[in-house]
């Protein structure tokens, strides 16, 4: 008992400021609480969840969230990060520093600023279309025709640095002798990557995928600034849907229920990655 004493303040703090709000949220998700416009709230059981699964806009948001996460996090940030890290291993120092600086700048920019930059890039009179016009290729309003692709690209642009840093660290851990031995045995670049590098950094891949996915699932500001979830609901992922329900339509109870479901999606992803991590190399 006495031994637990030193950690108790930390536990109390955690309980107060972390578990407390989460527990309160979980409770609200089962009520019809509104921000305003209602004298009293009441317990409604599973109504909010039933409503969500019957709401075609919610299902649309779930689908878009999965598309957004798959495209921008799993395919985009993760693969590009690994590619950049691998290339930078071979690059000369100035190239490495410069690339690193550019990629990391995109990462440290505040989300809203990044959103505006990419809005300016994709909009009708934006940079992308200027380049396409110059090349005599057809231009269009990307935020209108392919909104989910545009915001996914934006998230790749912003978040790749993180994967790159994780993978650079992992690659540096691989002993030079192993790679050199493989090279002597005549293994080409792709074979070395597939049979040596990837298995050896497997744990980093798992960790990186998990962190990336969780980060991407909760992206809000970027999409809000670029498309506000539109046109229609074509880029409305779960966090935007949640915001609309809770703060624009004042339905805190329903919004919180959606938040809980988002938490569930996140933990599903986590379980998959944890399994990936646990497998013996």
């Amino acid at each position: 008992m006495l031994r637990a004493l030193p950690v108790s303040p930390a536990v109390i703090l955690l309980a107060l400021f972390l578990a407390g709000p989460i527990g309160y949220c979980a409770y609200i998700a089962f009520t019809d609480l509104q921000l305003t416009g209602q004298a009293e709230s009441s317990f409604v059981g599973l109504d909010n969840f039933r409503e969500a699964f019957g709401d075609e806009r919610f299902l649309n948001a779930v689908w878009l969230t999965l598309v957004f996460t798959f495209l921008s996090s799993i395919v985009g940030q993760n693969t590009l990060g690994l590619a950049l890290a691998t290339l930078m291993q071979r690059a000369s120092k100035p190239v490495r520093t410069l690339t690193g600086a550019i990629v990391v700048t995109a990462w440290v920019l505040p989300e809203v600023v990044a959103g505006f930059l990419l809005y300016a890039f994709f909009r009708r009179e934006g940079t992308l279309n200027a380049v396409l016009d110059f090349l005599h290729l057809p231009s269009q309003n990307w935020l209108f025709t392919l909104p989910i692709l545009a915001v996914s690209f934006a998230n790749v642009w912003r978040g790749t640095a993180f994967s790159m840093l994780v993978y650079s660290a992992a690659l540096n851990e691989i002993p030079k002798e192993i790679t050199e031995a493989a090279e002597v045995d005549g293994a080409g670049g792709w074979r070395r990557m597939w049979h040596i590098t990837l298995p050896m950094i497997r744990r980093s891949i798992g960790t990186n995928l998990m962190l990336n996915t969780l980060q991407t699932l909760s992206v809000f500001g970027l999409i809000w600034v670029m498309t506000r979830g539109g046109p229609g609901n074509d880029s409305q992922t779960l966090p935007l849907f949640m915001y609309e329900q809770a703060f624009q339509k004042s339905m805190i109870g329903y919004g919180t229920a959606v938040a809980l479901l988002l938490l569930l999606v996140g933990s599903l992803f986590s379980v998959v990655y944890m399994r990936l991590l646990r497998t013996e190399v």
Partner: protein
């Protein structure tokens, strides 16, 4: 390990501090002082803009001088609109945090009334001479479904048609243009499209990205010109569905975008389009007619980002006509803010006294001029210094007589989103007017728990 013994007291100290911090933050009102009136208002997120702060400081001085022994404590909330509402609503929930006087948007005041956050002011208003100076429509701005009044408006805004005199000249349209019907508006836009290629003939805000601008500047400016109570029936206390006026308004939006009289659809559905209208399209003569609010010149003033002092020579103003020219011939919508007293306020009497000080004729005039607001007091509206303070002010003040306030009952935000969705689907051509209207009917029916009436 010498670290361990020191961490515990440190953590303990930190936790006590944090706990103390949160506790005092909760009870920070110190609301027991009967001589202090606490006032919450929305402070601009832009540090350069201190119009309201300066004005309230000035009133505070007057008030403390006129009421010896009484104190005013200003509690600014620095936030954009939506976060201001959220913060305020949380404060109003508890007697510990509720201030004595709050600044409430007419958009949400009815929701806060339903929540029981606010106090009816009728007993105060009955004894207050100046209330007679308020224009009839403005008095209803903060009137709830129970017939009681919960707020004193400190000005309003109105809406109308802004048009480019330059483009009109090229198109051969008159500089003193005043359409009598919707068809006149469309006819002028068609003329512009034919004779002045390369400019957008007519902008009507539409769709979800435009948000409330689509509902209020766009849709309701049309709907309220089709007949009485197009959205909400106050007698039945029910939302209106299946109305012809609703479909006609959607038809107008469809016509604008279908005939390419409006902006390119992808521009119209850009969330930042309103900013471009004010900052680019109007000053650069790329937009002929714009259905928009009285506040546009705020962006063109000195030091406001898009300085454009010549606007009053380049732009003309016309009232939005009713559908077929039916009486009273013109339409405007109004919003604006009111001063209200929370139900849980400690010193409501003192708070109302503060409203009285703010709303003397002289102080009200000072405020309208400072924030380019539209007067809701007859005496100020007739005052020459107010009328001359800014070009266009007389035009927009005259519209107050034919203006409407939104049916901003608790369901309104949901109804408003449903309107935006219906508009968006006819704008993109995804659905017909009939389908969009029946989609709206279904939405409203479920959003209001069936509190609807077919018309």
């Amino acid at each position: 390990m010498p670290v361990r013994p020191t961490t515990t007291p440190l953590l303990l100290a930190a936790s006590t501090l944090l706990a103390a911090g949160t506790l005092t933050a909760c009870g920070g009102g110190s609301g027991d002082d009967p001589d202090t009136v606490k006032i919450s208002f929305k402070q601009s997120t832009d540090n350069q803009i201190r119009v309201m702060d300066t004005y309230l400081e000035d009133i505070k001085k007057q008030f403390e001088k006129e009421n010896p022994g009484k104190k005013v404590k200003l509690v600014p909330i620095k936030a954009p609109d939506s976060e201001y509402y959220t913060k305020l609503q949380q404060m109003l929930r508890s007697p510990k945090t509720a201030p004595d006087l709050v600044y409430e948007d007419t958009f949400l005041i009815n929701s806060d009334i339903t929540s029981g956050y606010l106090k009816p002011l009728d007993t105060y208003l009955a004894k207050w001479k100046d209330w007679d100076q308020f224009i009839g429509t403005a008095k209803t701005a903060a009137k709830a479904a129970d017939g009681k009044t919960y707020g004193v408006p400190d000005g309003t805004d109105t809406r109308g048609l802004w048009f480019s005199k330059g483009i009109f000249k090229k198109a051969g349209l008159p500089a003193d243009w005043q359409p009598k019907t919707w068809d006149d508006v469309l006819a002028a836009a068609r003329t512009v499209k034919k004779k002045v290629p390369g400019v957008t003939p007519l902008n009507v805000y539409t769709g979800k990205p435009a948000g409330e601008a689509a509902t209020m500047q766009g849709f309701q400016m049309l709907a309220y010109g089709t007949g009485k109570d197009p959205l909400y029936d106050p007698a039945a206390k029910k939302w209106v569905t299946g109305s012809k006026g609703f479909k006609d308004s959607l038809k107008f939006v469809e016509t604008v975008y279908d005939e390419k009289l409006g902006p390119d659809v992808s521009d119209a559905l850009d969330p930042n389009f309103a900013t471009r209208v004010r900052g680019e399209l109007l000053p650069e003569d790329k937009l002929a007619i714009n259905l928009d609010g009285s506040w546009l010149p705020q962006d063109w003033g000195k030091g406001a980002g898009h300085e454009w002092p010549e606007w009053s020579k380049k732009l003309g103003l016309a009232a939005m006509p009713t559908q077929n020219g039916q009486a009273p011939g013109k339409v405007s919508m109004s919003g604006g803010w009111t001063w209200a007293i929370p139900a849980k306020a400690d010193n409501p009497d003192l708070a109302f006294k503060f409203i009285e000080t703010m709303q003397t004729k002289a102080n009200a005039k000072k405020w309208y001029i400072a924030n380019s607001g539209i007067a809701v007091r007859k005496d100020v509206a007739a005052d020459p210094t107010y009328v001359k303070a800014q070009p266009g002010i007389k035009f927009f003040t005259d519209l107050v007589a034919s203006t409407y306030y939104r049916p901003a009952y608790p369901e309104y935000p949901k109804v408003s989103t449903a309107i935006q969705e219906a508009m968006e689907s006819v704008t993109t051509g995804d659905s017909s007017v009939e389908d969009a209207a029946s989609g709206y009917d279904e939405e409203v029916d479920s959003a209001t728990d069936g509190q609807v009436i077919e018309k």
